[in-house]
Amino acid sequence: MNIVNSSKVQKKTKKVNMIKIAPYLFIGPAVIYIFAATIIPIIMALPISFTNWSALTPDKKFVGIDNYQKLIYDKDFWNSCLITVKFFVFVPLVMLVSLGTAVILNVKLRGIKFFRVIFYSPVITSTIAVALLFEWFYQPSFGLFNNILNFFGLAGIGWVNNASTAVMSVIIFKIWKDFGIGMLIYLAGLQDVPGEIKEAASIDGATAWQKFIYITMPMLRPAHIYLLITNIIGVFMIFQETYMLKGPLNSTRSVINYIYDKGFSSAEMGYACAMSFVLFLIVMTVTLVQYKATKMDLL
């Protein structure tokens, strides 16, 4: 009797111990991965930015704030910042296209779901691969876009091959590629707008446009804020589009393209790290503002 009892007790304590250990086993791999792939690198980033780390030379020296001083006087860096700022035109444009397509797809028509699938399809494709298409479309002498312009009797333009239109060309490409993300988010928001409010407004004599501006738009506020912030961060991070569609005279070289060139083509990793740390601080500020803004929205 006694023996049976004690073995039962033992079994029970073993179980209790398992419950205590099990969660660490479940979260262990993920926590280790995130530590190794994100937390440790971000902690390393600041010290590395104070060195002249390079893949070419084995000896790295502590150089203090030299990299940050260099950054202030680096014309190419500021030029790439300016180009990134130019890309901000993308943000309102893509939001407008997303909202427009969402409003169109929100109407109850037969087979409308099919079009939702089609409109979202560019989002899931590889930016690098689709850029090949646009390279061809933008080709000045036989590309699609100039063919269309010529068809309407207009003169063709240089698109990516011209420094003054290159940024605009990349923005058009990026809108085509990305508008589906915002479209789905706006669509989810539109479906949450209660029909009764609109009906009440109709009875009071509101036009469709008035209903849209005074009822729908304010109710989409969370979607507006979310998309505004993610698109702003997306523009700071623009890389693949400009890696593929390169304008002449570095006219589309964004901050990240420049960091990439410095860090890996000219192997100035310490300097590239300093630049990416500055960018990190900017993006973090934007993200924190987002959190504040959405919190405010929830209250």
Partner: protein, 277 residues
């Protein structure tokens, strides 16, 4: 009343027209890409451009896969993607379950760490990560290619939110019946979160398949290249080879499009699961 009906019909016609125009803008490039991949290079110079290939031939694909080693790149992409999908599902689900259904020390702190890691932009970590990986002698190996991207904090967050809805009494009952913790996870938790697995699996598949920034850094030699890297190289080396470029784009895009259309409900579900509205 009649007037109103007429207005409704006009409205519908305009709507359909708009939908048609957007459909053409979105879908036409894909369609033309596929058709053009069967064209000869000379046909690309036609003004006005031809829609259907004048002479239908498979030479571009032959060129890619025989001389261009796209077979190797394809296998690399399939290898990296399939391993990362499996590891990501396993690691993210387990972590989501641990965070959702257990009480333990440092739980909130560790979860906050996972959550805040999603806010760190990749560019801030990529140089130190490269230095770490090169210290481990994993640059230009499959290890370097696969290890980074094994799990995703956003999916852990998603899994944790989804799994809080699993009823705890169900798990307790299994425990009283003598089931071990791993058995509970395998036999009760996993079968009840199939939609979550589908969402994570498919989204991870697309993001692994399209991954560019990290593979671009970590891979130097030809034999480890994945499709996006190979395509970027092709584009800079053969600027005017539009015929090859279209075939390469088809090879990278069409499988993803097919999977997307077959499983499209998991994409919209992913957005509603993550609670972004």
């Amino acid at each position: 009343m009649k007037n109103n009906n007429a207005r409704k019909i006009y409205f519908k016609i305009i709507l359909y027209l708009l939908i048609l125009i957007i459909t053409v803008i979105v879908a036409f490039p894909f369609l033309w890409m596929i058709l053009s991949s069967f064209k000869e290079l000379s046909e690309f110079y036609n003004v006005p451009p031809t829609f259907l290939p004048e002479k239908f031939n498979l030479d571009n694909y032959r060129e890619l896969f025989s001389r261009g080693q796209f077979g190797v790149y394809y296998l690399n992409s399939i290898l990296v993607t399939s391993i990362q999908v499996v590891t990501s599902i396993l690691i993210d689900l387990a972590a989501g379950y641990g965070f959702a259904k257990y009480q333990f020390k440092y739980r909130n702190g560790l979860f906050l760490m996972v959550l805040s890691s999603t806010m760190i932009p990749w560019v801030a970590t990529i140089i130190p990560l490269y230095i770490l990986v090169s210290n481990l002698k994993m640059v230009d190996t499959y290890w370097g290619l696969i290890l980074v991207g094994m799990a995703d904090a956003t999916f852990i967050f998603l899994a944790r939110n989804f799994m809080t809805s699993i009823p705890t009494p169900l798990l307790e009952a299994a425990r009283i019946d003598g089931a071990g913790e791993l058995t509970i996870f395998r036999k009760i938790v996993i079968p009840s979160v199939k939609p979550l697995i589908a969402v994570i699996g498919i989204q991870k598949m697309i993001s692994s398949w399209n991954a560019f920034q990290w593979p671009l850094l970590v891979v130097n030699s030809d034999k480890y290249r994945t499709l996006p890297i190979a395509i970027a190289k092709l584009s800079s080396q053969y600027e005017d080879a539009y015929d090859l470029k279209m075939a390469a784009a088809v090879v990278a895009i069409v499988p993803v499009l097919v999977i997307y259309i077959l499983f499209q409900k998991y994409f919209t579900e992913g957005i509603s699961l993550s609670g972004i509205k």
